[in-house]
């Protein structure tokens, strides 16, 4: 595809801008920003990847992964601003998920240890881990508020913080994992996954593309489970003090 034909694709950007303007949705500016950012970011990544793939140097691969984790943390931490030390908890979670999944993939030789595999897979793992974190944090902060009376009741009856927060924690972990599991049930029927579609368009054998997509799907199940559970268990202790009292959630700072 040439850049000229790609520029024709901007028609798909003009349609929402036009609709937003006529319906006064006020989304024009965000749409333009999103478009410009995606063009710059993806082109940059394209060139960087070409370089990294050519170099096949482990340091570059690690740097790429660190960059991904930094970006994911930056994005997710806004949703957890009410939880103390959320930045480090997110970093810990992303690093753990990335190391765990790559250890299994490379350790069992499921995928070869080349940049061509490690980087896109890491991107999907960290990206999904980020989405899961955001889903979890959103749900957890709202659960804490709505279940405040129950949490205090359990404390007042002599329960520990862990027992008191148990219902909120489990509900949030479950709720954040449901989209991943549900979307897998209808995958292939309702939508073709983006990566598989990309491979098929680029000319890969559909069956091979499917095999690879399955690998990613299974990987994302682990990512989802490990992310919400780990983040949950890292987060809840910061909601209580030493005297097992519930601290006030600083929801003012959680402005989105």
């Amino acid at each position: 595809m040439s850049y000229l034909t790609l520029s024709l694709a901007l028609i798909f950007v003009l349609i929402p801008i036009f609709l937003s303007k006529t319906l006064k949705l006020g989304l024009e500016k965000d749409t333009i920003i999103a478009t410009v950012r995606s063009i710059i970011q993806l082109l940059a990544v394209g060139y960087v990847l070409t370089f990294v793939f050519d170099a096949e140097n482990f340091i570059y691969i690690t740097l790429m992964v660190i960059l991904m984790i930094a970006a994911a943390t930056q994005n997710a931490q806004k949703k957890g601003a009410a939880i103390k030390g959320i930045t480090w908890k997110l970093i810990g979670t992303f690093v753990f998920v990335e190391v765990l999944t790559q250890a299994i993939l490379l350790g069992f030789q499921i995928t070869p240890p080349t940049a061509q595999y490690i980087i896109p897979i890491s991107g999907m793992v960290v990206g999904n881990s980020m989405v899961l974190s955001i889903l979890f944090l959103n749900r957890f902060t709202s659960e804490i508020e709505t279940r405040q009376n129950e949490t205090e009741l359990i404390l007042s009856l002599g329960g520990t913080p862990k027992q008191a927060i148990h219902l909120s924690l489990m509900a949030s972990i479950k709720a954040s994992m449901i989209p991943t599991i549900e979307s897998q049930k209808t995958i292939g029927l309702v939508q073709l996954p983006g990566m598989m579609s990309g491979q098929i368009i680029a000319g890969a054998d559909p069956v091979q593309a499917v095999q690879f997509q399955l690998l990613i799907l299974f990987l994302l199940l682990t990512t989802a489970a490990v992310t919400s559970i780990m983040l949950g268990f890292l987060s809840y202790p910061t909601l209580f003090n030493k005297q097992m009292q519930m601290l006030k959630l600083d929801t003012e700072t959680n402005n989105s």
Partner: protein, 243 residues
Amino acid sequence: MNTLNDTAVQFKQVSYSDGELQIIKNVTGTFPKGKITTLVGPSGAGKTTLFRLCNGLISPDSGEILINGKNINSYEPTELRRMAGLALQSATMLSGSVYKNLSMPLTLQGEEFSEAAAKDLLKDVGLDTDFLHRNVKDLSGGQRQKVSIARTLVNKPKILLLDEITSSLDRVSQEEIETLIKKINNNYQVTIIWITHNLQQALSIGEYTWVMMNGELVESGESSLLSHPQNDKVKHFVKGDTE
């Protein structure tokens, strides 16, 4: 009534504030051991907040609270909360059955609560035993209050903090609960602190009373003080309430 051995709960210059708002202002006073003391005062006086302090759900900004002569900070939080049992006005229920709610205090300690014991408890608070497997969703406000009291009793607290527990009950139920609490007080020497807005009830059930207003303890002593208060503000409050 002021010697250490006769005191269950002692407040020493206790203050508590939430942000800018000072809710409890330099409260000093005692609750005699094994007695029923009522806690009265206008809405927003800080009565519920005082209970949350006793149960350790919040800590004072300054001052000390002693239970049986020991600073409450020296107890394990879970131990303190079982010892100073709290039943709140809101009667929050955990979703599920009445049995689940009654078992919760023991479940939290990894123990079981037998159905037979739960049924006895239901009878004590004046509920039919077939309530045991009802869902709490289907209970009336008064029935929830009764379950909430029963649930607090499961921990066998030495101090019972009752916050307006009879305010949504009819006359008969109210008397049943009063009788039960008096019985618990008598049989097990449990210290009772009872918040009520019903001055008639305060006079009839409690030997002692605390009057709180605007975060301060304005009068305390034998309940008869409510019949002829010294403090002008208390006079006004008593009048307004009994009219």
